[in-house]
Every structure is written in C-alpha cells, then in structure tokens.
C-alpha cells in the first residue's frame, strides 16, 4: 500500500509550530541549532521520492504494513456496536512506535547524524528506536526512568539485546517525564552528531508535526481498509489512548477534517481523576510549557510540573501533544479518563473475547467503549496501539 506524508488540514501546524494556542519551540539556545536544522529540513527530506521509496519499503518489508483492520465480532456483540481494531500490535516490535522510528532514523541518516538518543516510558519506543538503530548501524542511547526499568524489565532486556545503552533516569518521579529531561540534556551536551528521536507527538516544533506525519500511515490505511469492508472510508468514531498521543495522532490524522467522524482520546485516570494518582491531563491540567511546547499540562498553581500516575507506563506523562491540546480546546476531540481498574478489565475482556492481549495503554482505549453511549449501527475503529506481552506481570496480578 502506498503511503505518502501529505500536507495536513485545518489542524495543520503553523510555520512557527502552533496548533491554535498550543505548540511552538520553547527550547534553550543550546538546542536551537539542532531543532532549527530539523525544522528547515524535515519536510524537504520526507518529501523526497528516494526517502519515500525507502520509507515505504521498510514499512512493508520490515514493519509488516499494512496492519490488518479486524472486525472484532464478539467484542462488537458485547459492546453493542460495530468495532474494528486497527492492529498496530502486529507491527514489528509490537507497537505503532516503529512507524515513527523508521521515519526518524531515515531523517537522521540524511542529516548525517551518527548517534541516536531517545527517551522511553513503557519501553515500546525505546525498543523501536533500538531496533532501527540496529538495522541502520547507528549508536543508540535510551533514557528510561528507573521505576519504569523495573516494571518493564523485558523491554529493557530487549533494548540491550539490540545493542542499545539503556541509561536510568533517577531524577524526579523516575518515569517518562524525567527520562525525557535526561534525553534532552544528553542532546544539549552532544548537539552536532546526535539526533534525538522523540517517541510521541510532543516536544518542540517540528517534532509533533513530524511524528504525526509518520504515524498518519495508521489513518491512511484505515480509510482504505474500512472502505473495502463497509463501502465508507469514515467510521462514526475513532478511539485511541493518549499519553503523549502518537498513536492517537496517527489514528486521527486523515479524519481531522471529517467532522462526521468523532475523535475519541482516552487518558489514564489512574486511581481516579480526583484521587491524586492520575494522568488525566485534560481533566486536571491547564495551559503551560513542558519539554519544548505549550500544551495542556498537569501542574501546581505555581507552575511546577505534577508527577502523573497510571498503571500503564506509557500513559503516565503530565502533558499531551499540542495537537491534542488543540483538539480538546476546540471541541474536535472527545476526551475520556479511564481508571486502572477499568483498563485492566477491558484488557482481560479483549483477551477472552478475541484472543488478543492488548498493551495496558491500549486497554484504556478499549475501556472507553462502554462509556461512549454507542448506538447499534455505530461503526467504531479502535487503534490497537500495542500488544500486551510486556505487561504480563502486571496483568497477572489481576488474574
């Protein structure tokens, strides 16, 4: 299937990297040359036919695209609507993250970079980054919160086996936010020969736009596959979980300007939105600046970033991508907050009904289905962003 990175829609990023009020490039001068180099080159590089040819071939032959759009019949019966699952869990490495890392490693090569640095929460982005670095023979350093290293040990082992150096982030809550801080510091200290592969639609412009474009392969395939199955490209709902929001950005991308398609973003409520242990950013946050962009951010009254919590290591980020902040503010997206308990139940439900063990991140998206007041004739696409192998030890505590 031909995939091109197309210019976007009215939700397109502005020249200065803003989606409505959100976005931009709030970076120290030490990062300015790197980010500017990327900003000036990413569209030219990614539009180049030779880039597109290599990107396409790797997506097909290495990642295993297109991923299936699966009609989940038993889940549909249970929920009371027609539910399709976009099977990103079947991508090589087990999650959608590799769509972006394949794209970014090709950009990094064309910029002449020799080393890759990345951050990771659940480890899926770290594994995807380590994988493409191994594929291309580039040095790879992945920062990961030391708490996350413990709860996602299989992914740590996978990264190391792939040749990456995994560096524990020991500051703050020792999770994704702190891993991101450390990766940014590493980039500040190594500005010339290093490319920072950000794993979500966060960070300074052009990262949110670049990552969304690489992930837009999800919605592009969905449209064609849904048309083949139903005669219409457009479902009634597209549902995806949001930590930073990369799988959601990819699942929503080609539907942003289709007002008949409701975009449903599902955040992690942890122990409950008001429990003090939550990562429900839009419910709890307000506008602020973190990791290079203005977005909606969980923070204290004084502007100190709050430590988020979720059972899912991929969703406990205190912000969301600026595109998602714009979708929230403009009302284009519906935002739900799902507790740990609901997410775990949904993960078990999908496993038993369809034989698919989803990542706990994805289980949050699935759990939203029962809160959406769906009608019998509604067609829903859920982005099944990743598989749950890495989460087995957490799932087993709920068996």
């Amino acid at each position: 299937m031909q995939t091109t990175i197309e210019p976007t829609t009215s939700f397109e990023v502005s020249d200065k990297g803003f989606y409505g009020h959100f976005g931009g490039a709030f970076i120290p001068e030490m990062l300015y040359p790197n980010v500017e180099e990327l900003r000036q080159n990413y569209l030219t590089i990614t539009a180049d036919p030779s880039f597109q040819a290599e990107f396409q071939q790797l997506l097909e032959d290495y990642v295993g695209r297109p991923t299936p759009l699966f009609l989940a019949k038993r889940l549909s019966e249970t929920v009371g609507a027609t539910i399709y699952l976009k099977r990103e869990d079947l991508c090589h490495t087990g999650a959608h993250k590799i769509n972006n890392t394949i794209g970014q490693i090709l950009v990094a090569q064309r910029l002449g970079k020799k080393r890759i640095v990345a951050e990771t929460g659940a480890g899926q982005h770290g594994v995807a980054t380590a994988t493409v670095c191994a594929l291309m023979g580039l040095e790879c350093i992945v920062y990961m919160g030391s708490v996350d290293m413990k709860r996602q040990q299989p992914n740590v082992d996978r990264m190391r086996m792939l040749g990456a150096k995994v560096v524990p982030a020991t500051s703050g809550s020792q999770t994704l936010k702190d891993a991101t801080n450390e990766a940014m510091r590493h980039w500040i200290n190594n500005p010339v020969d290093t490319h920072y592969i950000i794993g979500s639609v966060v960070g300074p412009h052009p990262y949110p736009d670049m990552v969304a474009r690489f992930q837009s392969v999800i919605s592009q395939e969905t449209r064609k596959q849904l048309f083949a199955k139903t005669g219409s490209e457009n479902p009634d709902y597209v549902v995806a979980c949001v930590g930073g929001g990369s799988n959601a950005a990819g699942a929503f991308f080609h539907y942003l300007n289709e007002p008949s398609v409701r975009l449903v973003a599902v955040e992690a409520a942890g122990h409950g939105v008001e429990s003090g242990h939550s990562a429900a950013t839009t419910a709890l946050g307000k506008p602020g600046v973190l990791h290079g962009s203005r977005t909606i951010l969980m923070q204290t009254e004084d502007g100190q970033v709050t430590e988020p919590y979720s059972i899912s290591a991929g969703l406990d980020y205190p912000g969301i991508g600026p595109l998602h902040a714009h979708l929230f503010e403009s009302g284009r997206g519906d935002f739900y907050a799902i507790t740990d308990e609901d997410a775990m139940a949904a993960g078990f439900q999908l496993s038993k009904l369809e034989g698919i063990i989803p990542a706990i991140e994805t289980a949050h998206a699935l759990a939203a289905l029962s809160h959406m007041n769906l009608k019998a004739d509604d067609v829903v696409v859920v982005c099944l962003s990743g598989r749950g192998d890495k989460d087995l030890s957490t799932y087993s505590q709920y068996l």
């Binding site: 030490m30 600046v289 290079g292 970033v305």
Partner: protein, 279 residues
C-alpha cells in the same frame, strides 16, 4: 493566568530608577563576577542572607534562580538545589515576598547590586508575565534569564511587556550559534549576552578547552554592542581568569551551590568563596 490588564504601565523613561545592569556596565567593563544561587536553597529564607553576603563580598551581579521541577538546561547540582528549594516551599510569589524592601532596608545594608532572576518560562507564565514584570520592577529586579524562552517567541509575545517595566531580558549564545543569529541576538539584547561556554548543561564542564578558547576569540572578534559574560564551567580562579581574558566577566553557578551546601551561608563563607574565584 493572573494577569491584571487594567493596571497603569510605567514607561521606561519615567525616570524612577535607572536599570542597575546598564549602569553597572557603563562604569565597569572588566572582570565582572556574576554569581548564581537558587532561591530557597539550602533553606527557604536564605535568599536575602545570601544576596547580602554576595554584595558584601563584592560580586558585581547576582543571579537568583527561580526553582523549577524540570530544569532541562541545568545539570545535577542545580537540579538538586531546585528540588530542595521546592521541597522547602519556594515559589516565585515567596521569592518576591522575600525581596520586597531589600533595596530600601533601613535596618540592614540596602541591596544595591544588580539582580537577575533566572528560571524557566512555565512558572512565570502561571504567575502571569505582566504581574511578573511588575513585581520585578517593584522589588528591584533588573533583568531576567529564561533559557527556554527563545528570542523569537520573546519578541513575538513578551518583549513589549518587559520593555514597559524596564526589565532586561538576557539572551544566551552557544558555540553552535551562527554568526547571523549572534548578530540578531546582539541587536535585540539590552544588558549583556550570556555566553554559554560549551555545548553543555550547567556544572558539567571542567576547565577551558581549545575549542572553547577558539569560540571565545571568535565572539570577541565580532565586536558586539553588548558586553558578554561567560557561564557554564566557570568554577575556580583559573577558569574565571580565562573567561575574563575573553569577555567582560563570568558567571559562576554550580560551584557556588556546592559551596553553600558544604560551607553554609555565613558572610565569611560567601566571602571565602568569592575570594577563591577572584583570588
């Protein structure tokens, strides 16, 4: 946001105070020493004590850090001091409360040394940019350093407010900053230029390397209109001397934070530190 748009803005020319940074550089152009400390560290109420200690020890400028949970341009030493300051309960509001009256204190020696606030943009945004500038003016802060507020965003959104209150915005340059951009930063700066000594976060550099020297000389040869202070990696007499040979002075941060942690905030301790830098 806590903006109060109906307030009467002062004009920069209303003559109430001359900016102390500008006035300093008009008197002195060599071997200026700017020392950074984090507000609320080691203890919540140390701000004015340290400020007074630094003034008595003869430093030329003082940079007070507004602690932040995610200081990405800073290294471990300053990040830890930020964390401890936040645990101690420091905030921008508390810092302003502590600074009120320091310029006119009749019981102790009034603070006359130029003061800069250094910090990250998010806490300032939450405080409200206009409120922040008004309070800076009210308590006698002369300038700010906000490393994650790049020049173009500053010019687009905040320059007018800063100018209205006479608060200088100090911009950074690094070895990777192009000559063209340095010219732009020089044209848009008013106070001094903060030369980051190398591609690094704070506290991670030791000594002055050959590439650093080459960079210092390149910038010196550009004959910028603004004075330059070199920061990052300035931690002893030798590095201070090297910086002063290539710029108007230097900024010391992490080394002073470590000194405060190890030796306390007494005037004698602070004097001893400043003496080792200046020697």
């Amino acid at each position: 946001m806590i903006e109060q748009p109906d307030i009467q803005r002062p004009t920069e020319t209303d003559g109430t105070t001359e900016n102390r940074i500008k006035s300093l550089f008009s008197r002195k152009s060599e071997r200026l020493l700017n020392i950074y400390f984090t507000a609320g560290f080691p203890h919540l109420d140390d701000t004015v004590t340290i400020l007074r200690g630094l003034q008595q020890a003869g430093v030329d400028l003082v940079e007070i850090g507004m602690p932040y949970s995610d200081p990405v341009a800073d290294g471990e030493t300053i990040q830890k001091s930020n964390g401890r300051a936040l645990e101690n309960g420091m905030s921008i509001k508390k810092l302003f409360d502590q600074l009120v009256g320091c310029r006119t204190d009749s019981t102790g020696e009034p603070i006359t040394v130029p003061i800069l606030l250094m910090g990250y943009i998010n806490p300032v945004l939450q405080y409200g940019v206009e409120n922040f500038c008004r309070m800076c003016r009210e308590v006698g802060v002369d300038g700010v350093i906000l490393p994650d507020l790049p020049l173009d965003l500053f010019l687009d959104e905040y320059a007018e407010t800063f100018r209205a209150y006479g608060i200088l915005n100090v911009n950074l340059i690094t070895p990777q900053t192009t000559d063209e951009r340095i010219r732009l930063i020089d044209a848009e700066s008013d106070g001094f230029i903060y030369m980051v000594s190398s591609a690094s976060i704070t506290g991670s550099v030791t000594g002055i390397s050959d590439p650093m020297r080459a960079y210092f000389e390149r910038i010196k040869a550009m004959n910028l209109r603004n004075p330059r202070l070199i920061g990052f990696g300035i931690n002893n007499h030798e590095t201070f001397d090297s910086a002063c040979a290539n710029a108007n002075g230097a900024i010391v941060g992490s080394a002073f934070i470590r000194h405060l942690d190890d030796h306390g905030t007494s005037p004698e301790s602070i004097q001893a530190f400043v003496d080792t830098i200046r020697a």
